[in-house]
């Protein structure tokens, strides 16, 4: 098969029976519940755009395992061109959804595991890579959406996994059996957890020998017994269930990806889905390669979202009669500058990517971390500029329900209108879209998604060649003896 469509994905979601809770309610079908439909729609677009002639060059590729045409989100990158293609595909998807489409996380997990399983086998003579290749073929054949479940609750941050008072603060192996393992613990803020078909569980930090039980990587189907999903609240999420459409801002795709707390209450995993079990000395490699792949993404998807935000802000300035003001133009130019700077970063870390021993390619880790660290700043600055241009109505606009009221609607139409010939409704729609993209959850995702800023700083600290920089300066300043090269 190799490639499915959005409706096939929705049907696949209806076939599984995961345990999901939201606002005190047990959810029967995420594909049919208003709180989840925007997230499902957004992920579905990763399938449908792959079939569209306008986007297939970005969203499809050839499997290096079977030679078949596959969706990009099940591909393992084998060139810098592949890495660049991913960034462009993410930007295109961001432009069409204006939201998170969630499939990149599992995709990045596949890429990280492809190389780490190879390296583990090479060192230890294990069979993880062969096992992983079989799993990858399964994923490619079904075009399966899997989430990447890395972040543990972590308990006391000053202690390692094995030192925690509560041993379940990190996912760990509690039993090894002939036919598989049993895992316990939880993963937090897992994007796409409730609308994926399964989770790729990965360790979240570097580990030592005492942490060996915590060095576990495995695939768990979303409806595995003992797996519990508790969906997180988002800013203004009650608007999704209130019958309002305009007030949602982006009713089709939502404002950001849906995250959940995923609890592993003694979940059994067969050996065929176990890709690390005790190899604590490879935990850091897996975290770094996954983080590199995921941080590389952010100058793609977030720039696609920025295209929408800049467009909304520009359109709103026209609707409000401010578009010709020089300070508005300056601010719009600044937003483009900020967005394209992020794109430059993602393209650069992709072009500077390199081959790993397994043959697949990863982005340059230093530049990928720079990309994500810039995202934690530039996205906020773009949001600030958009709010500046939009004006206070962003926070005081009357509700869609009052606009629809027989008595009040005429007042809102009259007083929310700005330039001639443009109805108040247009202005309200743009304001709600900007509100969704700049107020609350969407911004926090830019800060902490793919790791908090300090995580990037730690990687930058490790990767920068401080001694060389120092020697370059000392040579020009004529301090000590430095080798003369030319």
């Amino acid at each position: 098969m190799g490639m499915i469509r959005g409706d096939d994905y929705r049907e696949a979601l209806r076939r599984v029976k995961p345990e999901i809770y939201f606002m005190g309610e047990k959810i029967d079908s995420v594909a049919d519940h208003p709180a989840f439909i925007p997230h499902v729609n957004s992920a579905a677009l990763t399938y449908d755009m792959a079939w569209a002639p306008e986007f297939e060059e970005l969203l499809t590729t050839k499997s290096h395992l079977t030679g078949e045409k596959i969706n990009l989100f099940t591909h393992v990158h084998h060139s810098t061109a592949d890495l660049v293609q991913k960034v462009k595909a993410l930007r295109a998807l961001g432009q069409q959804t204006g939201s998170c489409f969630a499939r990149c996380v599992g995709h990045d997990a596949l890429n990280a595991l492809f190389s780490v399983t190879y390296d583990m086998d090479k060192k230890n003579g294990t069979e993880y890579h062969t096992r992983f290749i079989d799993f990858l073929k399964e994923v490619q054949k079904e075009d399966r959406f899997i989430s990447g479940a890395m972040t543990d609750p972590k308990g006391d941050r000053s202690l390692s996994p094995s030192q925690q008072a509560d041993p379940d603060q990190y996912v760990h192996v509690v039993k090894k059996q002939k036919d598989g393992i049993v895992v316990r613990g939880a993963k937090v803020h897992i994007t796409g957890a409730v609308n994926a078909l399964g989770h790729m569980v990965m360790p979240t930090t570097s580990m030592k020998e005492a942490d060996a039980d915590y060095a576990v990587c495995c695939y768990v189907p979303v409806d595995a017994p003992g797996l519990v999903h508790i969906f997180g609240r988002q800013t203004n999420d009650d608007r999704k269930c209130s019958g309002c459409l305009l007030d949602q801002g982006n009713p089709d795709y939502g404002i950001v990806g849906g995250e959940a707390l995923v609890v592993f209450d003694d979940v059994f995993v067969p050996w065929k889905y176990v890709f690390m079990c005790g190899e604590y000395d490879f935990a850091f490699e897996l975290v770094e390669r996954f983080a590199t792949a995921h941080r590389q993404n952010y100058g793609g998807c977030k720039v696609g979202l920025a295209d929408v935000l800049i467009g909304a802000t520009y359109a709103l300035s026209e609707v409000q009669g401010t578009s010709s003001a020089s300070h508005i133009r300056d601010k719009l130019v600044e937003m483009v500058h900020l967005a394209e700077t992020l794109y430059c970063c993602s393209i650069a870390c992709s072009c500077q990517g390199y081959a790993l021993p397994a043959g697949n390619f990863m982005a340059d880790p230093l530049l990928a971390n720079i990309t994500k660290l810039n995202v934690t700043r530039n996205v906020y600055e773009m949001a600030r500029l958009a709010q500046d241009i939009a004006g206070g109505l962003l926070a005081t606009l009357p509700s869609e329900l009052d606009w629809g009221d027989a008595r009040l609607g005429k007042y809102i139409d009259k007083y929310m209108k700005s330039v001639k010939d443009v109805p108040a409704e247009d202005r309200m729609r743009l304001l709600r879209l900007i509100e969704g993209m700049t107020c609350g959850t969407a911004l926090v995702e830019s800060m902490h998604g793919a790791g908090s800023p300090q995580a990037q700083r730690i990687m930058i600290m490790r990767r920068a060649n401080w001694e060389r920089k120092k020697r370059l300066a000392q040579k020009l300043a004529k301090i000590g003896e430095q080798p003369k090269l030319v």
Binding site: A81, A355, P357, F361
Partner: protein, 127 residues
């Protein structure tokens, strides 16, 4: 051993943002090659080169390109802290490269080339 002297040359990536010091690795290699009776250090434009050691500052390995590998029958790639994709500490790089060069020497004559890097030539996608 035969009287055959293996001609070895060094090529650098240019080191725009290196994780190691390729110049220092190169200096140590030059010294080791000059002290090894079976080896001869030659310039990259020499007509008969047996081994080209490509010294790259980071795993991107910009110097590892066909036009450089073609200079010799054999190539060894240092890319950051690794030799032919096997990771190791920076201080071990010269010794590991020399061991590889000697393995060519022990053959009495140059053997087949190192494999080309796993890099497909598919064009960048439009976007």
């Amino acid at each position: 051993m035969t009287d055959y002297k293996l001609n070895v040359t060094l090529k650098y990536c240019g080191s725009c943002n290196p994780l190691i010091d390729p110049f220092q690795v190169g200096s140590r290699l030059k010294e080791a090659i000059l002290n090894e009776p079976g080896l001869k250090l030659v310039a990259p434009d020499d007509k008969s080169i047996d081994v080209v050691v490509i010294l790259c500052g980071c795993p991107r390995a910009c110097g590892n390109k066909e036009s450089i590998r073609r200079l010799a029958k054999n190539s060894i790639v240092v890319a950051g802290a690794s030799v032919d994709q096997v990771p190791m500490a920076e201080k071990e790089l010269p010794a590991q490269v020399m061991q590889k060069v000697r393995s060519f020497c022990a053959e009495g004559k140059p053997i087949s080339r190192s494999p080309a890097p796993a890099r497909r030539t598919r064009r960048h996608q439009p976007g």
